[in-house]
Amino acid sequence: MALESSALISELHDTRTVDLANHRRKYLVFKLGNERFGIELSSVKEVIGLTAITEIPQVPSFFQGLINLRGKIISVIDLRKKMGLPSAEYQPKKTSIIISEIQKVVLGVVVDDVEEVASYEKEQQIEESIEVQGKMSKEYLQGVAKTEGNKLVLLMNINKILSTSDLAIIQKSAA
């Protein structure tokens, strides 16, 4: 198993060194409920486990609270709530917080489980022109990646998850 994976990795490495014209993109793949989502690895600053979240009154419900990350105070949102999915209880050793910078605001996003770092081929695996109707706005849905076994990963644009007003509230709280 280890040998196989290392062989795969070296192969990946080779394609990357040869083909640098940005044909492949890296995503951090996580889970919300049964669905898998991906955000671009470049937009991620760090991934941490669940820590104590200090709640703040009189804020929108998706705004979970504040955490102390090595001395820095960071706002945390619940992605489930934000995306209108039914909320679930947090599970230690599964529930994780993805730290990323959205419009120069450092923000923690609570997801059910972080699965892997995956790279998808831009032209063959990623479908960008999709029509979505429903609660998820097309705004923050970048596209869909087709992975092995005909499974789909919804690719998300983390920068567009929050509206400007949302951001303002967060900035205010963190300040």
């Binding site: 070296s10 991934v47 770092v117």
Partner: protein, 678 residues
Amino acid sequence: MFAKMTIGKRISIGFALVLFLAVSLGSMAIFEMRKISTLSEQLSNDYAPEVDIVGSIERNARRVMYDMRGYSFTEEDNFLKQAKSWRETLQKSLDSADQLAAKSKVLVKLAPRMKILKDEVAKYDSLMDATKVHIDILAGQRDSMAKMSDIYIVASTSYLTQQNSAMESEFKDSSLSLSQRKERLAKITLMNDAINIMNGIRVKNYKFQTLRDPQSYELAIKDFDKMVVIEEKLQAVTRNESDKQLLKQIIDAQNGYRNEMVSFLAEWKLLQQVGVDRTKVGVDLVKQAEELAEAGVAGTTAIANEAISTVNISNTVMLWGLVIVVLLGIALSYTLVKAITTSIMKISNGLRDSSNQVSSASKQLSEASQELSSSSNEQAASIEETSSSLEEITGMVNNNVDNAKKCVEISQSVSESSKKGNSSMKELVESMRDILESNEKIQQLVKVIGEIGEKTAIIDEIVFQTKLLSFNASVEAERAGEHGRGFAVVAQEVGNLAQMSGKAATEISAIVKESIKNAEGITTDNKKKVENGNAVVKSAAEILREISERSASLLDNINSILSASQDQATGIGQINSAITQLDKATQENAATAEETASSSEELSAQAEILNNMVGELTKIVTGSVEVKTQMPTMTNYHNSTQGKKSNVVPLSRERKVLPANVHMSSSSGGEQNEWEAV
């Protein structure tokens, strides 16, 4: 002449005359008997054995001849063996005939006749040996003929085979001339002819040996001349050296066969001659033996006739003598009786009167003793019945005692078994306790497994942290851009490892959960089973306790039965002693009755003797039976008392056996102690 003599003198003279006549008759008879006895001794010692031995000589001689004939026809050794064994039997008969001739004084002609017979036997013996010699020679010749013919057949067949193969190879060779080919064919044909003739000769030879017809055999010998002609032709055309040698072999074998055949015929004729001679001697021998046997039978008949005539003479003499003696006796006795009777008659009449009186008195006495005897007999019978029923009761009481003893043994064994049951119950309880202890150990094991589960949780935590670390490494690598690509790979690898560890940890925790569940299931199961076992053990122990209690009460009951049976035995003993006393009294009564009976019997016997004397006297005098009519009641009574008296005797024997039985069961104090100890 007789009238003046006394009775004694008259009787003496008459008897002396009759005695003289009887003695002279008897001595004549003895003389004749002695003569017959000598004759019959000769018959049994000399003539009868002679006939017997000579007959066996004849029989055995015939058997020897029969088997010798069989031997000369079949040439089988079995017949010779049989003949020799018969010859030995014949020798035995001859020897015993010699012995008889030496021993007997009467058989004068036997010895010279035996000498002639033995000469014949010796001749026959030499002919028997000659037959054996000839038959052996014939067998040897037959063997050598068979060998010769084998050699002939082998050689001629190989000669033929060679010729055939030569012909086959010559077929291919076209350079050969027609005459050469014809010559080859002629050789084969000639050889085939020779073999056919040879086979014909052999067939005739076998035919001769089975049918014994010398004519065709002589013809067969002549057939050899034809073969010689053929072989001369063959010798002329045979050129090959090996063929020549074969041909020589063939001719030698054939000549040998011919010579053997000729000498075989000569030998066979000799054997036939010996057979004829042997038969002639044998027939003579049997004839001699027959003559001897006839002579013996004639001698025996003569002796027997002599004996018969002697018997006849003595018979006639005895008959006439007897008639004379009887007539003389009758005349004598008539005159004597007439003289004696008249004087005795007077005395006998006086005696008869007094004897009648004694007889009637003894009759009364015997009637009284008869009554006494019959009543004592009845008493004895009832005592017998009582003692026999007493015996039965004793048997029953003894049975009771035996059964009670057996019950004691059984109840003891029951209480022992219940004790054993108790001890096994204890062992069972202990082993269940052991099961509970091992249950506790299983629970400790469950604890250990639980700790393993906790440790697995820590591994999970580490895995999660590692995963996060790998993601962060990827993020950092991405940020580093081109420089971070190698690092990204490492981060990916670390992530994969973390995932694998995570899977392993989940599997471990699943196994741990499963093990804990199983172990708990086992312990609760064990507990339940042990609890059930405890309940069963309790009820079993209860049952065992009940069994031992009941067997104890059973023992008490049996002991009371035992003591009751002992009391019964004592009671029977007392009854028995009473009966013994009664028996004694009855015996005394019977003895008294017996004595009275015997006295009256004696008296009656005396009367009877007297009466008989009178009767006899009267009878001697008058010849009438008149007096006897007065006495029949006496004799009847005498018989009946004897019959009844015998009834009393077996009764007393019965009584002697009985008390021993009762005594044994009633006075068994030692046994009583034993029961109480139980």
